[in-house]
Homo-oligomer: 333 residues x 2
């Protein structure tokens, strides 16, 4: 028998307010910048934007977690672990995990923390939660939640960030189950190389300058020095190849790939380099914008809804975070 | 043979600038507040305060990590995992772990992330790192680092925070070794109960209000609504008792206890409740101030220097974080 760590259920949350490409084209046109080519290239259409007055990382995570509990048919008191992934938290003290614990009334979730590895954060958190459940048989269920407020941290004068980033939360309930064959969380492969550590910074000035009166407001938000991201395609291919060899599986056995939803062409180039058909991936960055760490999980949820994946299928999550670090995660439904 | 996860070495960093009780007594006297009784009660004498212009969470973590590598006789390229614990980060994007990776040139540390569970953060991170190493035999060594800038996040008009909190970093190198008997990381016990979630908040206004012009500067920093912390003593006793029962060990076999260094009387009351002698704990909160998540590790380092613990000894780390959550961790040298 195998001790499998499986996704018991997934929940996502998208704010009610939708914005379309035309809003951003008009916004930046007034500054003399044409973003139409960029947003079309990356694959945008609509985005969902949080209500800055009433929503934040914790409220969005709460909504996604409620849905994940519902689809899992799990009660809050069954949760043992909460890992809250975010790089746009509401608080640093107390942790967002603790604030979520309070809202959900997860009275038995004693091991809880926030985790930040930027846009690979939900995959990192799923890896950590899976290994905590594997190595500690007193614990049975984990809630992994990611929350991203891209619209809030972006400066309205940054054409790449403001016109592409959006807001969302996603949650997954993981459970340890005993089964006669191996499935669920299989393995991960990570790579970190901080060569573009300065390209993408929030707060750009650093917390150590955040309270200085001399620091410009724009410098207190997210700053992107644009760079060509397409090198990531070859990196992803190498990362997945090592993972597939380790797990003794062929890329042709993967039913669906869930990439970062930042750039549609980067996902498609990666599949081309692997000679894998473009029907093997799910793109939702057109509907929801780029929602950071939540984006591969939202794509997975879409594939569940579309029934393009089913029990027994192998799937791969593959994404990239600021700096950069990359992660590929192999999962069997 | 046992696969033990052991502390290969520890490093600490304290900024050069020292402040004494008289500075804080004078500072608050000018506001009509007498803090002399409070700081004496909690056990303060001197504190080390970072240079706000040139130091931040990452620079301090770098100094502590260099010392930990040196005392461990480990090269940066041997590190596989970096977990950076902090609730006073320098950046949210990229992660502080990635910025530290860049400075240390830990070229093979591919699984890296920031972890925040406030003042229990280093114990949480040691638990996670230990279990990642236990469950993934491709990984051999982890760097767990904590960095706390208490002086920076505190408002200068908050008598409890500003007069007690100080700045420090601590780092531990963990390694998996095969040995004929069980030692190293043994087990943890956590408890979370968000009953005092509003008592201690940073930023007090939340990030969602941090950029509002109407938000008062004081509200953008740490806010403490003082409450009696002494209930934690009984909580710690219960937490440790469960851990000892699980691990089949008597409290009388513990050579040293390393508590949160926030309150000397809380540590002593806890030992009294357990009928354990006051020679069994190490207090350094008089020399270094309260340094958040780093404080139990700095106490451990002091015990190593003082030779009050030795190879084969059992020790317990036991601390509390905002909200609250508590953790006890059993380790055998």
């Amino acid at each position: 028998m195998y001790q499998n760590i499986v996704f018991k259920g997934v929940g996502t949350y998208h704010p009610a307010t939708k914005t379309s490409n035309s809003y951003y084209i008009k916004h930046f046109k007034s500054m003399g910048i044409d973003v139409s080519g960029l947003i079309e290239h990356l694959g945008r259409n609509t985005r969902c934007i949080a209500d800055a007055k009433n929503e934040n990382a914790v409220t969005m995570a709460y909504q996604a977690s409620l849905k994940a509990l519902l689809t899992s048919n799990v009660q809050p008191e069954e949760i043992d672990i909460i890992i809250f992934g975010t790089d746009s938290p509401e608080k640093l003290i107390p942790s967002n995990a603790l604030l979520l614990h309070d809202r959900l009334n997860t009275v038995n979730a004693h091991q809880i923390f926030d985790l930040n590895s930027n846009c690979i954060g939900m995959l990192s958190a799923i890896d950590v939660a899976s290994r905590l459940l594997q190595s500690n048989t007193r614990l049975n269920k984990a809630l992994v939640v990611g929350s991203f407020l891209g619209s809030f941290i972006s400066s309205k004068s940054d054409p790449v960030c403001y016109s592409n980033m959006a807001d969302a939360a996603a949650a997954v309930i993981l459970e340890r189950v005993e089964e006669p064959y191996k499935r669920g969380f299989i393995d991960t492969n990570f790579k970190t190389d901080p060569v573009v550590k300065d390209a993408f910074q929030f707060p750009a000035c650093g917390f150590s300058k955040l309270y200085d009166n001399e620091t410009d407001m724009e410098d207190k938000k997210l700053r992107l020095d644009p760079f060509d991201t397409s090198f990531i395609c070859k990196e992803w291919v190498d990362l997945m190849q090592v993972l597939f060899e380790r797990c003794n599986i062929s890329k042709y056995n993967i039913k669906q790939f869930f990439f970062s939803q930042f750039s549609k062409p980067d996902a498609e180039t990666t599949l081309d380099l692997m000679s894998v058909g473009l029907d093997k991936y799910t793109y939702i960055g057109n509907k929801y914008g780029y929602t950071g760490l939540t984006s591969p999980i939202i794509a997975y949820n879409e594939a569940l809804i579309n029934k393009s994946i089913d029990y027994g299928d192998y799937v791969v999550f593959c994404t990239v975070g600021a700096g950069y670090n990359i992660c590929a995660l192999l999962y069997r439904l």
